[in-house]
């Protein structure tokens, strides 16, 4: 009971700064996700249009390399180029998001029955119409699940961004570790989990509602 009362007091005293950490966290996550989507979806589409396997595997390998760089090293490597703060953090998260987003979008478009694409072409859709009206809608479940998974990853990775001065919930956690305040650690962790779960649920709902409108897929 004592603990709970203390915790409420902690929130009462700290909520403006806690909210600020959370908002920073959300902004960084959202920003990297949006940039990731804007870059990877056209890139993945381009890759599905490419005949040269060499180029495809090159792009995927590069994305894969980014993925395997440890978060802390990635953030550190950004500093000489982009300085400290949000810029390098968002850039690092963006690089991390490349592979899952790219892979899902690419797989989504590849998964479409070639007959359907052939039919679209044969009926006189031009390449762009086929993409917008047929291929993207059909690849959407894959793309969405890629976005969903990536967003949860990013929210978790962004906690590391605090070490390079970008703030976010990681700041709360590191502060908590630094001067032994369990409330801070707990709150930072809890909020990061809540953000991740809420984002996941949000996307899940969105997917569900999409599926309802189009009922069954292939």
């Amino acid at each position: 009971m004592e603990f709970i009362r203390n915790y409420f007091e902690f929130w009462r005293d700290r909520y403006p700064s806690i909210l600020e950490y959370a908002v920073q966290h959300l902004i960084m996550s959202a920003l990297s996700l949006v940039i990731g989507i804007l870059v990877t979806i056209p890139l993945a589409i381009l890759l599905t249009r490419l005949k040269r396997n060499f180029l495809k595997s090159l792009v995927f390998n590069i994305a894969n390399v980014f993925q395997t760089v440890p978060t802390i090293a990635m953030l550190a490597l950004m500093i000489p180029i982009l300085g400290i703060g949000m810029k390098p953090a968002v850039t690092a998260m963006f690089l991390y998001s490349l592979l899952p987003l790219l892979r899902n979008t690419y797989a989504g478009i590849q998964s479409i029955d070639s007959g359907i694409v052939d039919a679209a072409k044969g009926m006189g859709y031009n390449s762009f119409q086929s993409l917008i009206k047929v291929e993207l809608p059909l690849a959407m479940p894959y793309i969405m699940s890629g976005i969903r998974v990536t967003s949860v990853y990013i929210i978790s990775w962004v906690t590391m961004a605090a070490v390079i001065g970008a703030g976010g919930l990681g700041g709360l956690i590191i502060s908590g570790i630094g001067f032994n305040d369990k409330n801070l650690i707990f709150t930072g962790t809890l909020l990061a989990i809540v953000l991740a779960v809420a984002t996941d649920l949000l996307f899940a709902r969105f997917e569900k509602s999409r599926n309802r409108t189009r009922r069954k897929t292939i």
Binding site: D113, A119, K121, M123, L138, R214
Partner: protein
């Protein structure tokens, strides 16, 4: 009419998949491209709407070179049905069928009307099916929608790439029948790719048999069956079908040469007597050089007062010639219901008579062996 002149297709890697293809697809006919896989049949079809571009020769649609068309426009004016059906799973039946009209920017009411019309044409109740999704339909129903979609913008030509091959045998058979029936109404130029000889024989006006990028033989189903160009064709058709397609015995087998024609010089009385004796109502009449003049009618002899035998000829009866196709004869007989008919040779010389009962019995026995057709 679609014409291919010395058409070649060589891929970038050097594979020469079509070699000097010369073909003519007549308007309003079902043309079936058939052959083993890799023979180039699908490629040939895809050249027509330029999903694949040919690398040599020329292709004309109604005398216009297709190279001069915008490929996208060309495709919008050509129906296209494919094996995997290719319905868009995320669109309703209505949206699927309306695809090309929408691309052509028809107005809404016209599209509505056309979709209803088409669904009825392929025997699906518009109100019931319009709002459904492809996955909610059976394979056969889906392929009907595929056909309806191809017909939507009233194209003169429809390309069908193994459209029924993924269906169960019963649906396939049903759809083949429906296609033939539909074709009587719509009279489209259909280019139909298949690897199924039974299907080809059933629906084709013209069969084009291909192998290794060349046309091996083309012709009507009957021509191909009765006169396979070489061993490959024979093998491809299969012994079973060839056996069943053995030519019917020629007409000459059924001619009764014992019947003597009446000479122009004979008297009216002797003719009457002869007919009465033989219980015949009609009898062939020839001149002194055995030239066939016509069929004497007993009725006319009795009723008319003339003494010239020529005057008693029944003009509605025509003689058969010895080289006539037996199927045509049967067709003619079915129409005119004669008991017997005179047969002449190419110089109009009387050869003998054919007894209809005898002929039918013989033909039936041949067809009976085929187990019905």
């Amino acid at each position: 009419m679609i014409e291919l002149r010395k058409v070649n297709k060589v891929y970038e890697d050097g594979t020469h998949v079509l070699k000097d293809i010369d073909l003519l697809f007549e308007s309003g006919k079902i043309n079936v491209l058939i052959g083993p896989s890799g023979c180039g049949k699908t490629t040939t079809m895809r050249l027509l709407n330029r999903l694949t571009e040919h690398t040599g020769g020329e292709i004309f649609i109604d005398e216009k070179n297709i190279a001069d068309f915008n490929p996208i426009e060309l495709r919008r004016h050509m129906g296209y049905v494919i094996q995997s059906i290719g319905l868009f799973p995320h669109m309703t039946i209505y949206d699927n069928v309306a695809t090309v009209p929408r691309l052509l920017k028809w107005d809404k009411s016209k599209i509505d009307k056309r979709v209803n019309e088409l669904l009825e044409l392929v025997n699906l109740n518009p109100e019931q099916y319009k709002k459904r999704y492809p996955s909610e339909l059976s394979g056969g129903q889906q392929q009907r929608i595929g056909v309806a979609r191809a017909l939507a913008a009233e194209p003169a030509t429809i390309l069908m790439d193994e459209p029924f091959s993924a269906l169960d045998p019963i649906s396939r058979d049903q759809l083949q029948n429906e296609l033939v029936r539909l074709q009587e109404d719509i009279q489209k130029t259909i280019i139909f790719v298949t690897h199924d000889m039974d299907e080809a024989l059933k629906i084709a006006d013209q069969i084009i048999l291909m192998k290794d990028g060349r046309v091996v033989q083309k012709g009507t189903p009957r021509e191909i069956l009765t006169n396979p160009a070489n061993d490959f064709v024979r093998e491809f058709i299969g012994e079973e079908r060839l056996k069943t397609a053995e030519p019917l015995p020629s007409l000459s087998n059924f001619i009764d040469p014992t019947i003597q024609a009446i000479h122009l010089s004979e008297s009216k009385e002797s003719v009457i007597k002869k007919l009465m004796e033989q219980q015949c109502f009609t009898y062939p009449l020839v001149d002194e050089t055995n030239q066939f003049l016509g069929q004497l009618s007993l009725q006319k002899i009795m009723n008319e007062s003339s003494v010239h035998l020529e005057d008693f000829v029944d003009p509605s009866v025509q003689a058969l010639t010895t080289d006539q196709d037996i199927e045509d004869v049967l067709e003619y007989l079915e129409k005119h219901k004669h008991h017997s008919l005179p047969v002449v040779d190419n110089e109009n010389m009387f050869v003998g008579m054919i007894d209809m009962k005898e002929l039918f019995r013989s033909v039936r026995s041949v067809y009976g062996k085929r187990g019905g057709n």
